[in-house]
Symmetry: C2
Subunit: 575 residues, 2 copies
Amino acid sequence: MSEKILVIGGVAAGPKTACRVKRLLPDAEVVVVDQDNLISYGGCGIPYFVSGDVSDEKELRSTSFHVVRDEGFFSQAKGVTMLTRTRALVIDRQAKTVSVEQLDTGETNELPYDKLVLATGSVPNRLQIPGADLEGVYVVNDMHRAIAIKNDLAQGKVNKAVVIGGGAIGLEMAESLADLWGIETTVLEYMDQLLPRIVDPAFAAMLEKHLRDNNVAVYTGESATGLESDDAGRVCRVTTPKRSIDADLVIMSVGVRPRTDLAREAGLLVSPQGGIVVNNRMQTSDPAIYAAGDCVEISNQVSGMKNNAPMGSLANRQGRVAADNIAGIPSQFEGWVGSFIMKAFECCIGGTGLSRTTAKGLGYDVEVAITAQSDRAHFFPTQAVIMLQMVFDKTSRKVLGLQGFGPMNDSVLARINAAAGLIAKGAYIEDFSNLELAYAPPFSTAVDALNATANVADNLAAGRLRTLSIEDFLEWMAKPQAKPGWVALDIRHPKEAAGFVEKFGSDLWKDIPYVNVRARHKELPEDKTLIIICDAGTRSSEVQVFLDSVGREDNFVLGGGFNAIRRISVDWWPS
Amino acid sequence: MSEKILVIGGVAAGPKTACRVKRLLPDAEVVVVDQDNLISYGGCGIPYFVSGDVSDEKELRSTSFHVVRDEGFFSQAKGVTMLTRTRALVIDRQAKTVSVEQLDTGETNELPYDKLVLATGSVPNRLQIPGADLEGVYVVNDMHRAIAIKNDLAQGKVNKAVVIGGGAIGLEMAESLADLWGIETTVLEYMDQLLPRIVDPAFAAMLEKHLRDNNVAVYTGESATGLESDDAGRVCRVTTPKRSIDADLVIMSVGVRPRTDLAREAGLLVSPQGGIVVNNRMQTSDPAIYAAGDCVEISNQVSGMKNNAPMGSLANRQGRVAADNIAGIPSQFEGWVGSFIMKAFECCIGGTGLSRTTAKGLGYDVEVAITAQSDRAHFFPTQAVIMLQMVFDKTSRKVLGLQGFGPMNDSVLARINAAAGLIAKGAYIEDFSNLELAYAPPFSTAVDALNATANVADNLAAGRLRTLSIEDFLEWMAKPQAKPGWVALDIRHPKEAAGFVEKFGSDLWKDIPYVNVRARHKELPEDKTLIIICDAGTRSSEVQVFLDSVGREDNFVLGGGFNAIRRISVDWWPS
């Protein structure tokens, strides 16, 4: 008798597991149940469907060869039975059955299994605030909501929108509303930065400025406390402790939690954080039951901590591993490292591994190296600056994470991808200094931006470089008189420095061009702390070494230089 | 007394070593000698200077902040003495001196050193054929030649050009001549493919077609045997055994060899292949003498073989390691892995690690996995197909190399860079299946093209997939009657297959759409070997699994599918 494989969940991990199992065990009977009628879609594409980049929702549910992945497709092409509009009610682990209800008929049924796969996904969080259920308030977690939002937009119902939540999905939605529909859009984030925990404050600030430059209002450290309705019962206003914002569309994007009711009720181990507990073969506490995707808890490969990591890319990988093991192939899912990337208008932001904030919280001896290097040869016409930050442990020299901010192309991706595998494997700073990235002037620099960042980290770890963080620099600039002992040493071209000397006065702002510091260093005030400033930090590092060598050691380099500061909104920049 | 560091060579590794040594040992006297007056330039940028993408040769000799790196710059900014037009004549290892000649005055001099660094670079090969010294025949190895070529172009002296040598530099030069100057350009390569040894035949063929589509004539397996001159003594024609080609500019780009005369004459160990022998601290057989850049021999991290690897990016890394060790920091240069990338008109080609050809020659149990996947979500408007090939050892499952061909953006770079560090560290197929690349629809797919390629390799290594190579498929198509037992099974959309059925006849070319194979497989002829064809190979793999499961095991999948074949010039493609 052929083996019966039952999968609960038909979006990402579920279909992936089902189809691979069927390929590995062609004689098996593979059945997938899902309560929805729309299945096997690219949920990460929803912002691009809403924006109009993707014109038809069917494209999110189609193969690369343009066939819609519906029940008929799974049956004909894959040999997999897909039962849609079918809700799994209870798992009977002794009998090895799942009772299911056909939602259109109310009919219930017992489906037998030899192996069961839980791919039940996640549930979007919803703020418990007044008005959360008004018309025009959406969470974005399935195709039906995506279609409803796009209908509202297409029918001209929306002029102003508020996105509650400054995580990746919220920001992608904000871009899609503001960019292609021209809607007056506001983002509210209750933490004091965008992409909290994912990136560090300086990188979040660069993203924030770019969103503002593209007409998205951003308020961080500010929660939505209520939603008000117009006479027709549609949302018309969002209130916060500081203001009230008109809005005829509100998107709540405040995270998700694993959907684990079925697993919990069946007595499977579920972690206190909420994810189904699995081993690295994606097997639950019942050896006949596997789980994969947003519903499980997985290990972070850098920190070893267990987390829920709801990502379509991880769901697919986990599904493959679950399928392999069901078929007797001992594949392992080693955990996740936290790679991500996000488009925001003409820029992108990405990262992998731990942020400085997260790493500090875990007790690492954290330091960061920030650079502002050309993505390709500085003489190549299309070159642009990318900002990179390497997070590392000063004691062990282990690289913990990398963040990048740059133009909207694949240049940041190329560095994040290069780092992801190495960080997952516990690589050290020197592995990145020596990393042989592909080089030609139209693509990169002889010393790639990522190598250069590792070299800065090397100098920092060895105590050959002392930097001032962007945050400390901004604090100083906001109130220069609070640090009377500090003086800026601006080593850029005199034309670049002039506006600053004029604005801050030559007592606070000294300018000696980089090439003249060796000759003119004696002009510098003796009893001051020098903050050395250039565009990228590279020249400043050289100047620090020189000043140290002549006994002028009370100095710090502004890491990342003015290329970092220029990307952040500040009110003191000379006009 | 301050330590004396003497560096011979002022292009890449030399200045890098000198400047870093000076930063690490601020009290040292650091002197660099170079026989040229133009120093510290980005030699890899020469094709882009010749093309006009870079308008002024000074840009190749400038910092990213637009200061020319001349003697004054090195002295003022770096504290390094740069002696140009100064040729090193003899090293006296006992006395620790180098005698040098100032070329403009003829004056000679003894320069003392505590540590000596040889960064003498490479010498371009020149074919010993009649006419090799004619006016208008250039090797491209320094700025003077680059300037001379551009002058010829600017003065309208050139209408037709021949590039001898189909390596990366030759092809970049061919592009720059054909693209921006509209010159009728021909490439001659004596091996039977472009980029020999660097990429495998199928990838070279894709590049070749793209060059042809952009009006570059390409003849492989064909040597230049002579150059003829016009009455004025300028080259006017190139002859080969098969043809004669008009040309008023000839570029010889037939490789380089390490420049090691000085080292050899000083009795330092120089390998039979020609490079100066160094340990992984870039120290020669004389502990007081270091060497870095094109003049040394280094280890390949995958094969362990010693090679000369003349790349600006490696020169910089080696320079840093040499400087560290001179200053007492025990950095190591672990070797090279062979990462490269090259622009060719609207496409790019890149790779890292070993090619199939090279790996086979070294005795590995080589197999390749070829895919044709979308670089970003297939529903995202800017998506394009990238071709990837993973070279792996079937016995050990170690990944030996990766090649990519795709559109001219950073999408291939992002995959090559992701693989480079892992391959250098000896990673296995499963490390690539699980590699967590950054994902969002504008940048990648949930299962990244690189993950997908590893998954194909996994299936191949485990014997779950049998492919026909592109070469074997092309051989068959060129002469279908030679394999009377073979039949194509085209599972693409009937509209796509129709032209092939019509051209080859329904006995040779069966078409059953992918979604119908399960229902219609009994229509297939029983006694034939089926070659299963789709666009990317993915659907074909599924069909193979299914056919195997119904006992129809005499079948092969065309790896990479028609997306590979379409990128190669063939004369049998239906119009």
